[in-house]
C-alpha cells in the first residue's frame, strides 16, 4: 500500500527514485495540447519516455460557478450548471434540480420523472460517445471519433426537439417541465434506441478485439479496488475496479428503482476495463430508456402541483389573477426554501455528481457546492501514471473521462 501521507506527484518505486546521475526531462503537457481534453496541464517528469512524476495543474477554466451560485436565485442557477459539464448538460441540471426539490420538499410528477430519466440517460450516452471518440482518438484510432460524433448528433437532435437547445440545454426546471413534450419525441427516442445498439457494435468491431487497442489499454493504469475507494473515485473509474457503487442502484433517485438494469463491473481495473464498463453502460442506458418509454404515461401533468416553489403554468398565468401574481413574484423575487442544507447526488456519466446547497431562507442559496466527479477522479492520475510511458498518460487522461469545465467549475 502506498503511503498517502507523501505528496502525490512523486510516487516512485525503489529503483525509480530520482538520482543525481539520471537526467530527467520536464515536459509541460498542456494547457494547450490536443489530448488533454481542454485546458488541463500536466507537468510530467520523464526519463526517456517513462513517466517518473506527474503533477496535474488545473484551474485554467475556473469560472467561479460556486461563487456565482451564491448571487443568483435558485432558478437562475440551472443554466450555470449546464456550463460545468457541457457534454452532459441534462445530468447536471438534474442533479441541481433534484437537490433544490429536496430542499423545498417538492416532487415532480411521475411523467416528468420518466422524461427526466430518459433525458439523463440520453445525456449519459452522449457523454460516453464523446468520451469514446476522444479516448480512441487519443490512442490513435481516427475513425471512431467521427462515428461517435455522428451518432451523438441524433441525441442532440432529440434535445433540440425537446427544448430547442443542443448543447447547453437548460432543460430541467425546478418542479418538472413547464413545456409539453413534443408529440413526435417518443418516436424519435424509440428510433434512436432501435438504431443505437448497432452503432455500439460498430465501435466494438473497431476497438474491442483490436490487438493494438488491447496492447495499449490492457494492464495500463491499474487501480486496485481499495485504492479506488481511497481515492474517492466514482463512476466508471470505481466500477472498472470492481466496486459496485452506482448511485442509481445504491440510492435510487427519480424512478430508477422501477427499472430493470444491471451495473457492469470490471475485473482488472485497467484502462481496458473502464472502456468495457462504459460501453456496457451505454447498452444499459438504452435498456433504461426503452423501459422508461414503455412505462411513461402518455399524458398527465409535467409540473409539480403549484406551490410557491415552482413556476405556475402558462395558461393559468394568463387567465387567473392569483397565478399571474405568483408568476410575478417567482420571476422577480424568486422563492425562498426553508432554512437548511441538503446534499443530493446523481449518477452522472462520469461519476457521482453531488450538489450541496445551504439555504438561509432567502431566495438565493447561501452556499452552492458542486461535487463534480471529474475533479475528484482526476487526482488519481499521478497514481495511475506511475511507471507508465508518455503515450500512456494520454490514454489515462482519456480513461478518467474529464471535462475541464466540470473539473474547474
Amino acid at each position: 500500500m502506498i503511503d498517502f501521507t507523501q505528496a502525490t506527484p512523486v510516487l516512485l518505486s525503489e529503483e525509480r527514485q530520482i538520482t543525481e546521475t539520471r537526467r530527467e526531462l520536464v515536459l509541460n503537457m498542456g494547457p494547450q495540447h490536443p489530448s488533454t481534453h481542454g485546458v488541463l496541464r500536466v507537468r510530467l517528469t520523464l526519463e526517456g519516455e517513462t513517466v517518473i512524476a506527474c503533477d496535474p495543474v488545473i484551474g485554467y477554466l475556473h469560472r467561479g460557478v460556486e461563487k456565482l451560485g451564491e448571487s443568483h436565485r435558485y432558478a437562475q442557477i440551472v443554466p450555470w450548471t449546464d456550463r460545468t459539464d457541457y457534454v452532459a448538460a441534462p445530468s447536471n441540471n438534474l442533479g441541481y434540480v433534484l437537490a433544490v426539490e429536496k430542499l423545498c420538499g417538492i416532487e415532480a410528477p411521475e411523467r416528468a420523472q420518466y422524461w427526466r430519466m430518459i433525458m439523463a440517460e440520453l445525456a449519459r450516452i452522449a457523454s460516453h460517445l464523446v468520451w469514446l471518440g476522444t479516448h480512441a482518438l487519443d490512442i490513435g484510432a481516427l475513425s471512431v471519433s467521427l462515428y461517435t460524433f455522428r451518432d451523438r448528433e441524433l441525441i442532440l437532435d432529440i434535445f433540440e426537439k425537446f427544448c430547442g437547445a443542443r448543447l447547453t440545454t437548460n432543460m430541467m426546471e425546478i418542479g418538472g417541465f413547464s413545456r409539453e413534450i413534443p408529440p413526435e419525441l417518443p418516436g424519435m427516442v424509440r428510433d434512436f434506441c432501435r438504431y443505437f445498439p448497432k452503432a455500439i457494435r460498430e465501435y466494438e468491431d473497431l476497438l474491442t478485439e483490436n490487438p493494438i487497442w488491447l496492447a495499449r489499454t490492457k494492464g495500463v493504469g491499474i487501480v486496485e479496488p481499495e485504492v479506488a475507494i481511497n481515492y474517492s473515485l466514482t463512476g466508471a473509474c470505481l466500477r472498472g475496479s470492481g466496486v459496485n457503487y452506482d448511485v442509481r442502484k445504491a440510492m435510487p433517485y427519480l424512478l430508477y428503482d422501477r427499472i430493470d438494469f444491471e451495473v457492469p463491473l470490471g475485473t482488472h481495473g485497467d484502462v481496458y476495463d473502464r472502456y468495457l464498463v462504459r460501453v456496457e453502460e451505454m447498452r444499459q442506458s438504452v435498456r433504461i430508456i426503452e423501459q422508461c418509454l414503455d412505462q411513461v404515461p402518455a399524458d398527465g401533468p409535467l409540473m409539480a402541483y403549484e406551490s410557491n416553489y415552482v413556476i405556475p403554468p402558462h395558461e393559468t398565468v394568463m387567465t387567473t389573477a392569483e397565478d399571474m401574481q405568483r408568476h410575478f413574484i417567482w420571476v422577480i423575487k424568486g422563492f425562498s426554501p426553508p432554512k437548511g442544507e441538503v446534499y443530493h447526488a446523481v449518477e452522472h456519466s462520469k461519476g457521482e455528481l453531488g450538489y450541496y446547497i445551504v439555504s438561509d431562507g432567502s431566495p438565493i442559496p447561501y452556499r452552492m457546492r458542486i461535487r463534480s466527479p471529474d475533479f475528484v477522479n482526476l487526482q488519481s492520475l499521478p497514481y495511475m501514471a506511475q511507471g507508465a510511458m508518455l503515450a500512456d498518460v494520454v490514454a489515462l487522461i482519456g480513461t478518467i473521462d474529464i471535462v475541464l469545465g466540470s473539473v474547474d467549475r
Binding site: 498517502f4 501521507t5 507523501q6 505528496a7 502525490t8 506527484p9 488545473i58 484551474g59 475556473h62 461563487k67 451564491e70 443568483h72 429536496k102 420538499g105 417538492i106 416532487e107 475507494i229 481511497n230 481515492y231 474517492s232 466514482t234 466496486v243 459496485n244 457503487y245 445504491a250 440510492m251 428503482d257 409539480a304 402541483y305 403549484e306 410557491n308 405568483r326 413574484i329 423575487k333 422563492f335 425562498s336 437548511g340 442544507e341 441538503v342 446534499y343 447526488a345 453531488g354 450541496y356 445551504v358 438561509d360 431562507g361 432567502s362 431566495p363 438565493i364 452556499r367 457546492r369 461535487r371 475533479f375 475528484v376 482526476l378 487526482q379 488519481s380 497514481y383 474547474d408 467549475r409
Partner: protein, 206 residues
C-alpha cells in the same frame, strides 16, 4: 411573500422519495448508529447531531475531526469508507463564532448510507487534514484552502489549485469577497480599467 403563500399546499411526500428510504440512516438522531457510536467514543468532541430532510449531520470539534472520521471509517459496524466530498461554508452572515464550517460528506459503500460530519473553524485556526485517511481528500482540501483559506494541518501539498499560484487577492468563496474581486480589471489593450461593481446583487433578507 405572504404567510399564506408559504402555507400553500405542499404535496404529500411519497415514501419512495430518496430521502425517505433511509439512505442517511434513521431520522431520529437518538437512533442513528453513527451518532450513538461517535457520542459514546468522543464525548468531549461531539457537539450535536442535526437532522434535516432526513440527512444526518454530526457536528464535532475541529481538533477531533480526523479521529472521528477515522473511527467512522474503521468501525466494523459503520464503515464509512468513501469520502464523497469535503468542502467548507463561510458562515459570516449567519453566526458569529466560528466563522467557517468544514463539511465532510461520508458514504459507506457496504452499508449504502451517507453521513455528514461538520466542524467549525475560525479564521487562522487549522483543521486536521484527512489525507492520511483518504487519498481523495488531497485536492478537495487544496480547493478548500484555495477558496476559503482554511489551513489543513498535515496536508502534504497544500497550495492553490484552481486559482493561479501567485493569486494575491485572498480567498474568493469567502462571503466578504466582492463578486468581481478587490481590484479593477484591466483588459489587455484597453487603457482604462473596467469599473468595479461593489459587492454582489442586493441580498434580500428572509
Amino acid at each position: 411573500m405572504s404567510d399564506e403563500r408559504q402555507q400553500a399546499p405542499v404535496p404529500a411526500v411519497q415514501p419512495r422519495q430518496p430521502w425517505q428510504t433511509g439512505y442517511w440512516g434513521p431520522t431520529n438522531p437518538e437512533e442513528h448508529p453513527a451518532v450513538i457510536a461517535v457520542r459514546a467514543r468522543f464525548p468531549e468532541a461531539f457537539e450535536e447531531a442535526v437532522n434535516f430532510r432526513d440527512e444526518m449531520t454530526i457536528r464535532v470539534k475541529r481538533e477531533a475531526l480526523r479521529e472521528v472520521v477515522e473511527f467512522l471509517r474503521d468501525h466494523p459496524e459503520l464503515r464509512y469508507n468513501h469520502l464523497t466530498d469535503l468542502t467548507a461554508v463561510d458562515m459570516l452572515n449567519l453566526r458569529d463564532e466560528p466563522r467557517f464550517d468544514v463539511v465532510v460528506q461520508l458514504y459507506s459503500i457496504p452499508r449504502r448510507q451517507r453521513l455528514r460530519v461538520k466542524c467549525g473553524v475560525n479564521d487562522g485556526e487549522t483543521v486536521p487534514s484527512l489525507v492520511p485517511l483518504f487519498a481523495g481528500a488531497n485536492w478537495l482540501e487544496r480547493e478548500c484552502y484555495d477558496m476559503f483559506g482554511i489551513v489543513f494541518e498535515g496536508h502534504p501539498d497544500l497550495r492553490r489549485i484552481l486559482l493561479p499560484d501567485d493569486w494575491d487577492e485572498g480567498h474568493p468563496l469567502r462571503k466578504d469577497y466582492p463578486l468581481r474581486g478587490y481590484r479593477d480589471y484591466v483588459q489587455p489593450g484597453f487603457e482604462r480599467p473596467a469599473p468595479r461593481v461593489r459587492g454582489s446583487l442586493p441580498r434580500p433578507r428572509p
